[in-house]
Symmetry: D3
Subunit: 286 residues, 6 copies
Amino acid sequence: MPNLGLFTYLHLAANKNLTCALLKKKIVAIAYETVEDSSGKLPLLTPMSEIAGRSSVIIGSFYLSKQSGGTGIFLGGVPGVAPGHVLILGGGVVGTNAAKMAAGLGAEVTVMDINVDRLRYLDDILPKNVTTVYSNTYNIQKALSSTDLLIGAVLIPGAKVPQLVTRGMLSSMREGSVVMDVAVDQGGCIQTARPTTHAHPTYKVEGILHYCVPNIPALYPRTSTVALTNVTFPYALKIAELGYRKSLKKDSGLTKGLNLMEGKITCKQVAEAHEMDWTSIEEIIE
Amino acid sequence: MPNLGLFTYLHLAANKNLTCALLKKKIVAIAYETVEDSSGKLPLLTPMSEIAGRSSVIIGSFYLSKQSGGTGIFLGGVPGVAPGHVLILGGGVVGTNAAKMAAGLGAEVTVMDINVDRLRYLDDILPKNVTTVYSNTYNIQKALSSTDLLIGAVLIPGAKVPQLVTRGMLSSMREGSVVMDVAVDQGGCIQTARPTTHAHPTYKVEGILHYCVPNIPALYPRTSTVALTNVTFPYALKIAELGYRKSLKKDSGLTKGLNLMEGKITCKQVAEAHEMDWTSIEEIIE
Amino acid sequence: MPNLGLFTYLHLAANKNLTCALLKKKIVAIAYETVEDSSGKLPLLTPMSEIAGRSSVIIGSFYLSKQSGGTGIFLGGVPGVAPGHVLILGGGVVGTNAAKMAAGLGAEVTVMDINVDRLRYLDDILPKNVTTVYSNTYNIQKALSSTDLLIGAVLIPGAKVPQLVTRGMLSSMREGSVVMDVAVDQGGCIQTARPTTHAHPTYKVEGILHYCVPNIPALYPRTSTVALTNVTFPYALKIAELGYRKSLKKDSGLTKGLNLMEGKITCKQVAEAHEMDWTSIEEIIE
Amino acid sequence: MPNLGLFTYLHLAANKNLTCALLKKKIVAIAYETVEDSSGKLPLLTPMSEIAGRSSVIIGSFYLSKQSGGTGIFLGGVPGVAPGHVLILGGGVVGTNAAKMAAGLGAEVTVMDINVDRLRYLDDILPKNVTTVYSNTYNIQKALSSTDLLIGAVLIPGAKVPQLVTRGMLSSMREGSVVMDVAVDQGGCIQTARPTTHAHPTYKVEGILHYCVPNIPALYPRTSTVALTNVTFPYALKIAELGYRKSLKKDSGLTKGLNLMEGKITCKQVAEAHEMDWTSIEEIIE
Amino acid sequence: MPNLGLFTYLHLAANKNLTCALLKKKIVAIAYETVEDSSGKLPLLTPMSEIAGRSSVIIGSFYLSKQSGGTGIFLGGVPGVAPGHVLILGGGVVGTNAAKMAAGLGAEVTVMDINVDRLRYLDDILPKNVTTVYSNTYNIQKALSSTDLLIGAVLIPGAKVPQLVTRGMLSSMREGSVVMDVAVDQGGCIQTARPTTHAHPTYKVEGILHYCVPNIPALYPRTSTVALTNVTFPYALKIAELGYRKSLKKDSGLTKGLNLMEGKITCKQVAEAHEMDWTSIEEIIE
Amino acid sequence: MPNLGLFTYLHLAANKNLTCALLKKKIVAIAYETVEDSSGKLPLLTPMSEIAGRSSVIIGSFYLSKQSGGTGIFLGGVPGVAPGHVLILGGGVVGTNAAKMAAGLGAEVTVMDINVDRLRYLDDILPKNVTTVYSNTYNIQKALSSTDLLIGAVLIPGAKVPQLVTRGMLSSMREGSVVMDVAVDQGGCIQTARPTTHAHPTYKVEGILHYCVPNIPALYPRTSTVALTNVTFPYALKIAELGYRKSLKKDSGLTKGLNLMEGKITCKQVAEAHEMDWTSIEEIIE
């Protein structure tokens, strides 16, 4: 089946067996996670980030309950009782969407980022209970002592995320506070975060409850499937209409998604990960 | 200990053993749940209703996840995917607080009530994604077919709540939708609701996930304790300063809270529930 | 009068007589509708789109009245009665401005577009009673059954708009619902739309009331004239100060507006529409 | 048919023939317009006032169009062009609902009333483009010169409304501005207002366009019928269950609605209007 | 001049000379500050409280500047820099109006009160950057350590305000923070507050800048005069039309304002303050 | 000290002595005010503009008080009294931030700019009491007659700001109104503006109070220092890590900031201002 195509999330760099099997069958493998749009962003990752960001606040609120091992603080407060504090590291897609939900619940929300222009835009559009603060160790440390829910929302495509919160810094948080690292599978920005599963989603370090399931959107498949299809379908349609070869020639962003073709690896990261040969895309699709 | 006093939630009508034990020890028993303020409302129940109403949306959102047996719809939606629908039966304290949270998440929220003046006030103060609709069987039935989260928030102090949603009406809901009856322990307004526990909070009827833990505020004790103390403390202070006898004389609303005194039952419901004698409060405190 | 200039809306492709008359008199004809700004947008069309989009909601609300042949639904609802639904196809200038007004009235508004990044921006800035949904036939069809006012707001400069709503799809709408196609004169996105006049603005197809006057801004000339002058005046000033030749040389976007000069057609569409000769702008203004 | 009952809007004081016919047939006539709730308000008029108030802004916006004889100002403005001004006389049900819609469109809205406590509440709940101003001739006169749409929303049940705007005061308004007097049939607060019909809704005085149809809610029957039924149905149900006699005895507010019974007039205004005998309600229903 | 009347702010209890002079001339003295409305509130004080509350935030913001001796914190912050904290003691007229302004500037605002029902209303209507907290020494002390601007807004008509903030409690505030006690002339709720003048408005205690001018509305006479006249004029009109005797008989709230008449003191507080005889109003106006 | 570096605001073109001294010592002088980001904006000026814009409203409100020589109008109004008008010339960073604060206080705010696209964005994100109007002499003149606070917020980096408000135009303003020109030191857009000092901040022209201190952010150093450091620190860090030579080579925007190096002037404006030799940056850093 030399012309069989796969257009989906592949993550081949992390799976040599899969890579070899696909190569052997000469599958045309285009990976969602490396497709780019005209401005260099990753359009097939964005919807997942949106859902992960929004869901994280629901999940964090839920695990703050006493029954789940949390502090028992309700983020929204009630009249006469102050709301909880949510600290969001990163003002990108994940962080912005998390901030919208946390603000909607009435929490006191702080979004930190080093991109001040991004903070300016967030100041324009987010509700008034969201404060934007420049991200640095001093500000994070100061904020942590009153943080009930910490959301790590830093994602640098193709780059290692800096470790913004060390184990030591957690000690200023109240016992039973909740920490989530939405990008845990890509390194994460919180030292104590390590991937967990939907079956066993949480663990405690220094008394702090950690929720670090990498695939949060799987919780809400009805919403995330539609969101994903909204952005993948136009590519699928194009491939169906033009064939993959013509599509790849016409859309240089889609080409960035090509990982395997004609039994060769066309994606550098995959080739390097498995110490195999790399063939340039141009060479293959002329 | 004839002058020992108890000032807390008592629910004596539901517990004869406790009632008898307290009578024997001539405890002065003032029950939070029957204290009234000057306008006849129950001020020591309101904070619990606020927290239950607000928390219910977090809990409902959480149980809508696929992993919990829900439909997998995220209430807030994301750009390009419509949000979920929340139907709230009752626009009182529970319902209003639930509506605030659901609206904050970006859901499409409908609040139903038969008190149109209350709906007018809600129209004045709630965000624009909350719609107020007159409550009747026709409107409820019509709304249910697109409802993802149904919150029963009807509470009529001292009266049986009418059954607004029958088992048959649930059949128009999508499988995996979530039903919560916040007032389940006082009858509830949803036929299929029966009290559950924090240990086993949910069950399914007709494919619909039911969460019916009566004591929702126990999930967030740090918030609910402060909220409760805000309203009970002034009474406690008054009792400490004046003694209970003088306090009861001065504050007719507090008097409504007196259930037992000098070995006698002064609360009609308790006396009737256990078929015991009733003594008027006036008689006892002169 | 070889140097007489015309700087206004011209639409010469649609009018051969006018074209020939202007050529004969060697008029310098610069058409508002083809002037571009530095990012390739049409700045002299935008204000008209803004007014058309905003007005469309007033007009649609008005024609929903029973006296006009509409369903008799008031879009904003009242406390206890659910508001009406507005479906807007297209999230560009027309659609965004229509959404602002419809949301302001309290309607439940859905904006559909295939540009998810645009929907993200709308999600950031529009009120909470606006939902953004990816535009496809399935979603449109599903939405139509509860739509009271449908606004076609799709405009692709220089391209034929796809027909998003067929005659058959209208059948799911309630009789007396209102359909408006703001871009009806440029093809329109609703099959049953055909241009009408301010004198006879509406007609019915399949029981659905159609309002399809192409020139909506003419209803509100005091607002639209000022809006238009705001953007045309700086060009007029430049032409007055530098003369048209120098202005055209300096501002490549204004040059895009040049249709006729020295008795020659410099705009390809006009030349092709009338099967006449075309001269490149560069050739004429050196 | 001595026990036949009529429960609807009756306005018998204005129709002697109808009154006599009903008396002759010994109809039990309960008029919506005189039923009171426990706080002395007229609950069966409120929904009509809500719809009239909200609709008035749509109607006024529509008639401001050049084609309708208006100034051609679009109330909401567009970026770069200031919005129009709406002056609302009266901050009761009609005025508040009109203000919500006008503010939603983006107009600059002024609500005037002599009840400062009411203005305080409006300041709490209305959007920021609504200004509250104490109502007096000086303030009205000053505001009129920049008013594009004037809405008379003063209604004093059972009392003659003061004439707040004289013919002379209109002269400061721009020609083609629109005047609506929502309570025109109960006197109205604008001197030049006189009732018109849906067939011929407008006329001009001093160049100002007047729209004075008394029965605005008839434009949107689908919304107004549901709104009205929401409040009348509980009374109808009570009458059906208890019979009218018992219902009248139990509900002193409903009793206020009784106009005729057993061939006698029980409503003073009706009796006085037709110079006929009056019998006290108490006498008849014992 | 036995019938000469004075209708204004009088504060006779604080001025024996004035009292005696007016008595001697048999002035009819009606004091704004003791007139009551039908619900027992003081309607002629409310507008002054509104202006004082709103202005206090402007004044406090101004004095936070370094040049005025403040900390140099700008309350609203900017993107990337957290806003300042405003603590408002009292959620009545002064406090609510102060909260609106402080929230409008983007500060993090906390309103404390012991009336939880009032806090519930504030939670309904104030922006999301206002938090309501039950007022007690523990909560005040905790909040003070991060408070940049403290506004004392407690006013109990006719009663001594409790001292909520002691000198010692100020020590946790940052040097240069600002304290304002809006009700300083009626006791004030901050121990270190003492009345100052517009000429010398501020002083420092413990490094904290105090602004305690009693008559804040005098800063903005154009606004405060109109606001005051809005509420006093109807009384003035009534007195002019009916004469003071009839007016006092008809309006029992106005009667509460009568301090002196026919050479006798009719206001108990005034009589007691000067140890003079008191005559009941009823006795004098029959 | 040939390698000593200065990285701060320098304004060398205005100070020949300083320039010569630094040249003599062969200081590497990088000026904040000429550093550019990748899009050609001046990132190290923006935070100062934000604070100046926000503070200007506080200062203007304060000086409107009678005690400061103002009209005595409180910008926010109170219920029953209309708010004041704020006119902001320029919708850039200063103007937008001023508009946010003025809108927050409840004033009626007008922002004028000639960039209609910018006005569209402001219409998307600013509260509803902000109106955007195209800036021209006619509109400014018309607005001035009802303006209480005029804020000049026009700043064109490296260009002379046009004089938008002449002395004559001020005559239509009410005596005691306040004028601020935030960019007074760079020319200013108001003819009567001339720089003042924090010691003597105001003066009157034509009865209008002028506040024209150039360095407004100095009022709030705690906020402005943090805001500035947020954006300068990453540059400082880069210079510290790489050395200035490498940093300048790598970051072409930082290079724009280089004014002096190795005893030579590398900034044209500085060279021209002092009629000294200019050396191209490329030549020096190769």
